[in-house]
Amino acid sequence: MLIQNFIVYSLSFFGIFMSVFFLLSLLENREKMRNPRAGKVYGEKVSVIIPCFNEERIIKRTLNNLIKVDYPKDKLEIIIVDDGSTDSSLKKIREFASRNNRFKIKVLHHKKNKGKGEAINSGLKKATGKFVATLDADCIISKDVIKKMIGYFSNPKVMAVTPSLNVYKPKGFLLRLQHAEYVLGIFLRKIFSFLNAIHVTPGAFSIYRKKFFDKYGGFRNAYHTEDIEVALRIQTLNYKIENSVDARVYAVSPRKFSELLKQRMRWYYGFVRNVLDYRHLFKKDYGDLALILLPAAFISVILTIISATYTLYLNAKLIRSSIIHLTLTGIGSIFHIRTSQLKNYVFGYLTNPLIVFLILSIVSILFLILMGKKYSKDSRNLSLGITYFFFTYGFFYSFWWIAGLVYKTLTRKKLEWGKSK
């Protein structure tokens, strides 16, 4: 009983504190929720680099969607880097380029696969725009993303702008679960931008100031999470990373459990290793990022793992006794539970003093998710996703973290970025 109380109290205290902190940050910055006008920066040349490795099935769709973007054609440069694909990706890319020669398209080709970071760097060398965007080969961007994001660059301190990253066509359990997760992330990312604490510029789609790469070098091979490395580098040099909460970008997320697991192991392991490399961020000089957000990230992981494990332990006992009961009386006994027994059980559960804190935690997270939905103007149905999220996310999150750290540390396996992004 004591352990249960401690877990619920600490988890909810932490959750409530973070939610209140985010809410205060939101209130403080509510005028900044909207994107700044594009102004003088609009019309500057933007180079979009698309690294591609064995994406023959989807690359054309991505490219056809890209050219629909609302930006002057002559100021848009499209650089597609085929990173040694062994399928017909290069052929499809060249077909696209020749069919759309009214656009400025450059096609680069690596004979051998060099990795995503190097592919983008090849693109950077040939990029002539003042701004450079990286786009994943399977991502769909809304027409207005550049218009919405570019205005932030009016501030010369801004080196990167991140979008409102969401899930493409969320159908089925895992995708809907991720849908809720991403929508929560959309809101959190905007709040982090107010605190100048964004720690990843999503490879799915982000826009950078080219001057940054010219001065500080391009992408580095960093544990297959180059987008985290770049963001931490920008933060360390004390530049700003902004976010547009309604510049909608849709990523094709993993549908199968094994793919999702691989992706998350890569993300979390990469996150830890990159943060370790940039350890010096943990000094007071670096503001909210160092003082609160990175430690909070680690605390939340630990608390989630503890509570998920304990919940499983409690439920294991319940499941075990239910199984024993069923074997004694046969499956039909489920229909013969007395209503008074059920009433007492529910009553006992609902009137446990801890339930107040459970409700508070749920309400605060629900609030964050709904804010994300509102500000990103995501009109898709989120109710199923939210339900799946509340019942199961803690378990998945804990599992991904433990699996990521344990598996990757033990085996030091390299995961190919092309097949399982």
């Binding site: 205290f13 209140v20 024993i324 013969h336 008074s340 027994q341």
Partner: protein, 218 residues
């Protein structure tokens, strides 16, 4: 571009203060819920004493007209079940060895035994077609799992055949003379044990075995 970032300490303090306030309010609400539950339990205690007195009177009336008093016995049966559920709830909230729980279980057990005797007698005299089961159980470590399982089976039987099977579960660990008397009377040496329509069955009995004994055909 090396600019020192400012940390807004006031915001952290405000967030901490608000969180503490919310937390304290939450604990207060939790506390009032707990005291509500304790009041609920006192209410149950009063009900049991009342029921016991009622049953005394019923017993007297029964002696006059045994086969006509079915309605009263049946409604009391219902109340007994309700009380049994409430006591089970108390056990889950306060624990099976809690003093208050044991204090209520004693008059409740007397109530049960009284009802058992009346029901059994009525079955014999008025030629009714229900079965009466007296179930001796214990919450001691070595018996508790078997007894819980046995109890679960009996509950199920009762639900499946409403009105046809009457179960009286007696906690043999309670400090009551009447329980020892009953055990002696039936020759009970093992826990769990069942007295089905006056016949002794010691040890754990599965669903099928009990169904065979009662000659049930569902």
């Amino acid at each position: 571009m090396k600019e020192k970032r400012r940390i807004d300490y006031n915001k952290y303090i405000a967030a901490l203060a608000i969180t503490i306030i919310i937390f304290v309010v939450g604990i207060l609400i939790g506390y009032s819920i707990s005291s509500y539950k304790i009041k609920n339990i006192s209410f149950i205690e009063n009900q049991v004493s009342l029921q016991l007195m009622e049953l005394e009177l019923q017993g007297e009336i029964f002696k006059e007209n045994p086969c006509k008093s079915s309605i009263m016995l049946d409604s009391l049966s219902q109340k007994l079940d309700d009380l049994g559920d409430k006591i089970a709830y108390m056990e889950s909230e306060l624990g099976k060895t809690n003093k208050r729980v044991l204090e209520i279980k004693r008059p409740y057990t007397l109530l049960q035994i009284r009802h058992y005797l009346l029901t059994k007698k009525r079955r014999e005299i008025c030629d009714e077609n229900y079965s009466v089961i007296l179930f001796f159980y214990s919450n001691k470590k070595q018996n508790i799992e078997e007894c819980e399982n046995q109890g679960y089976i009996l509950d199920f039987l009762k639900e499946k055949n409403p009105g046809k099977i009457k179960v009286y579960a007696i906690d043999s660990d309670l400090d009551l003379e009447i329980i020892k008397t009953l055990e002696e009377n039936y020759g009970i040496k093992e826990i769990p044990s069942l007295i089905i329509n006056g016949e002794k069955y010691e040890g754990f009995y599965s669903l099928k075995e009990i169904k065979d004994i009662l000659k049930l055909d569902f």
